[in-house]
């Protein structure tokens, strides 16, 4: 019996140790890389580029697609804030996904929408479109009214009616800055269109003073849960996105605000309506298509903060969100599992996919195993103490110290000069992360994994859940 336990503990211990060592190494490399990249443009004044890009003749026109569902409270504000984006040539397509409240009437009256006979350009399959309207005030503002079919379906309908070669998808509740679109389009414009999709750095807006579509005053939230999420976003930003983007290995660009090359998106069949994480699914499909057709397109992440989003404020909301995210992630990985270790797909297949499988998908399981190991070790007696201590130290290094490092390095490299009190608060909170936030989020992600395993045959029904992340969280 003891020999069995010893064997199991030995095996698990070393598995967890190896995993942690690999992950810590990978994170360190990515962190160093992100630092070099960000410090290079430290202090760069971005105004000049923005000033010159504004001229219509230089830029590529963009269709902005905003799916709305029961958003009568905020829809007018959203539209106004999108109308004032600093960008020379845009059209704004508001897609009403069968709202049951007064969203449609409100937009119709407010912008004096006139029914027009605009033929559909694209051929993507969507639910029936019941009307296309154009504003009598802003000729580039359109409203597409359709039967309810979910966010992906609404976006596809928008793509069908869009006129320009690039489109930008925006969540109804995300908050943009006036030059967000310019910044996100910059890699596309500067690369002669080689960049097929670009997503911006999404930041958490809770606690910041927000009013009418603009981040007004930056102040750290009072809620520990929100601050933990802020730290988590910073980590993902520094230890992931930047490095992955450099080598064209990004698998996730946020659906809250990103720009796509319409032609390629249509070629891959648009957004998938039967997945939970339609934004990741689209990016993976694009990667796959690019490699299969031997194109030299890239997918990029823009480190500038361009989009602010509301994070869930309650544990329940957060749990929902994380479960969904994880389930969506695994769904996409599973659907494209053939790309894993497939040299045909280059770095995405050889590095991104294995990385996502190991760290993002299975990571939570192994880490939870680590927690259990530590607890078990203390019950089982002194021969395991040392190993438990080793694992704990690794947890601290991996969880706490990397989180603190993200907070500090972000401030350093982006020149944000945070307030002392806020830095100290974030550091203190990061120290507690290992004890509550980390195990919780691991647990939720494992839940997502289990849900994926159990419900994989009923995707269609799951896809109908909440429209915006916020809706799901409340």
């Amino acid at each position: 019996m003891n020999r069995w336990i010893e064997g199991i503990m030995y095996f698990f211990g070393w598995t967890i140790f190896c995993y942690m060592a690999i992950v810590i190494l990978v994170y360190s490399v990515m962190l160093v890389f992100a630092q070099i990249e960000l410090r290079r443009q430290y202090k760069l004044d971005k105004r000049d580029l923005e000033e010159s890009t504004i001229d219509a003749v230089y830029s590529k026109p963009v269709s902005i697609i905003v799916p709305v569902y029961n958003e009568q409270a905020g829809v007018i504000d959203s539209i106004y804030s999108l109308l004032s984006l600093k960008y020379p040539q845009t059209e704004l397509l508001v897609v009403n996904d069968g709202s049951k409240d007064g969203t449609l009437q409100l937009v119709m009256e407010h912008f004096r929408m006139v029914c027009v006979d605009k033929p559909r350009a694209g051929k993507l399959e969507t639910k029936r479109v019941t009307g296309v309207y154009q504003s009598a005030i802003h000729s580039h503002l359109w409203l597409i009214d359709k039967e309810n079919g979910g966010k992906a379906d609404a976006l596809n309908a928008g793509i069908n009616y869009s006129r320009y070669p690039y489109f930008c998808s925006i969540d109804g509740d995300s908050i943009l800055e006036e030059n967000s679109l310019l910044r996100v389009m910059k890699p596309i414009i500067l690369s002669n269109g080689a960049v097929a999709a670009a997503g911006g750095n999404v930041r958490i807006v809770n606690g910041f003073h927000v009013q009418n579509g603009a981040v007004h005053q930056t102040m750290l939230s009072n809620s520990a849960l929100i601050v933990m999420q802020v730290i988590e976003y910073l980590r993902a930003f520094l230890m992931g996105r930047i490095a992955l983007s450099r080598w064209n290995m990004v698998l996730i660009i946020s659906g809250a605000f990103s720009v796509f090359n319409k032609k390629l998106v249509v070629e891959v069949g648009g957004y998938s309506c039967n997945t939970i994480g339609e934004d990741m699914e689209l990016v993976v499909k694009l990667h796959r298509f690019i490699k299969e057709q031997d194109l030299d397109n890239r997918i990029e992440f823009v480190p500038d903060p361009v989009c602010w989003t509301e994070a869930p404020q309650t544990l329940k909301g957060l749990r929902n969100q994380r479960r969904r995210w994880h389930q969506g992630l695994i769904q996409s990985l599973w659907a494209h599992k053939r790309m894993t270790f497939n040299p045909k797909y280059g770095a995405v297949g050889l590095i991104s996919f294995p990385y996502f499988w190991l760290v993002e998908c299975l990571g939570p399981l192994i880490e939870i195993g680590g927690y259990i190991y530590v607890v078990a070790a203390f019950f089982l007696g002194n021969i395991y103490y040392e190993f438990a201590i080793l694992l704990m130290l690794l947890f601290i290094l991996y969880g706490t110290l990397f989180s603190i490092a993200s907070v500090l390095l972000e401030a350093w490299s982006m020149n944000t000069y945070p307030r002392r009190r806020e830095v100290i608060r974030m550091i203190l909170l990061a120290m507690t992360e290992v004890f509550w936030y980390k195990p919780l989020s691991l647990f939720w992600r494992v839940e997502g994994l289990i849900r994926f395993l159990l419900r994989r045959k009923t995707w269609g029904q799951i896809a109908r859940v909440g429209f915006s992340e916020k809706g799901a969280a409340e």
Binding site: Y42, D45, S59, L190, E386, L390, L394, L408, Y417, V423
Partner: protein, 327 residues
């Protein structure tokens, strides 16, 4: 063995912690410094914004007090100047900014140009173009010899175009880096007519992106005497060149001789057929309608859509014409 591993990990944690403490202290210190500097900047703006206004509007003479002394005061002056340049077009004010920058800011920007930080060098190059600091042109030209990033080179060449036009073409043709079409276009729109002509003559030496930009620019600038040049481009092997040339010809807003173009109506490239539906609309109905009707059954949605729109527009116009005698 585990004990050794623990020792190592503990050591790493210790070093890492020390490093983080170091960074924290550095951040605290730099925030204090930054706050003080911002204060200097703000104080300068509060004190002198009015003086600058009065000087620019000829309400008061220039006073030596307005000359910034520290880098942060220079930043303040930058802010003030940029606010004017972005919002106000008075030639007098722009001239005064240029004069001041050439007299008082040369040293500052020269230092920044030799900085090891890429961001600082870029900022300096931006400001040299914004404030028209021709006094630094020679320094900029020396920079060209060093190994540069694409963005730096772009800005350097732009500065050359602004201040020393005659040397632009050579540097442009033999630039060591490849620019994006967007960047080429920015040059093209700044070119004087004579430079544009020179570039057209050396068209064969240009890279494809640059050719695209040139043809687009001709269309945007509506250079009427370039029709022959564009027609020559129509015979290019690169379909992108042909499409853009058709587009530029369309923007010239002239009536075309259809015999020279009819091969494009049956072109295998849909973009060319699409451009033809646009060009056909410049012709009288009896000439264009047969072709437009043919294009109504095109395989491309965009071509069908445009042809359909053109035909219904024509019918409407014809309907109105027929109805007129009734009045």
């Amino acid at each position: 063995m585990i004990t050794v591993a623990i020792e190592w990990v503990a050591l790493i944690i210790l070093l890492f912690t020390l490093l983080l403490i170091g960074i924290t202290l550095y951040l605290f210190w730099s925030r204090t410094r930054e706050k003080a500097n911002q204060h200097v900047k703000k104080a300068y703006i509060e004190k002198h914004n009015r003086h600058w206004y009065e000087y620019f509007r000829n309400l008061a003479p220039f006073s030596e007090e307005m000359v910034p002394v520290s880098p942060y005061e220079i930043e303040a002056v930058e802010e003030i100047f940029l606010s004017y340049l972005m919002n106000v077009s008075d030639a007098d004010i722009r001239g005064k900014i240029k004069q001041f920058a050439n007299e008082h800011l040369v040293g500052h920007y020269k230092r920044m140009l030799s900085s090891r930080n890429w961001g600082k060098r870029m900022n300096s190059l931006y400001r040299i173009a914004d404030f028209q600091i021709y006094a630094l042109l020679d320094v900029c030209e020396q920079m060209e010899r060093a190994k540069l990033s694409r963005d730096e080179y772009f800005q350097l060449l732009k500065i050359k175009l602004l201040f020393r036009e005659e040397r632009f073409i050579e540097s442009f043709l033999f630039m060591p880096v490849k620019m994006s079409e967007f960047q080429y276009k920015q040059y093209m729109l700044l070119l004087s007519p004579s430079l544009l002509e020179q570039l057209k003559q050396r068209y064969t030496e240009l890279v494809p992106e640059c050719r695209y930009a040139l043809i687009d620019t001709i269309g945007i600038r509506k250079e009427m005497d370039t029709l022959d040049f564009l027609k020559a481009c129509l015979r290019d092997e690169d379909s992108e060149i042909r499409i853009r040339s058709l587009k530029a010809i369309n923007e010239l807003n002239i009536r075309i001789d259809l015999t020279e173009y009819d091969s494009f109506i049956a072109s295998p490239v849909w973009e060319e057929r699409f451009m033809m539906t646009l060009l056909l609309q410049r012709l009288p109905d009896e000439q264009s309608l047969p072709y437009l009707e043919k294009l109504m059954n095109d395989s491309s949605w965009y071509v069908r859509e445009e042809a359909g729109r053109a035909i219904s527009e024509r019918r409407q116009r014809a309907g109105k014409r027929d109805a007129e005698p009734a009045y």
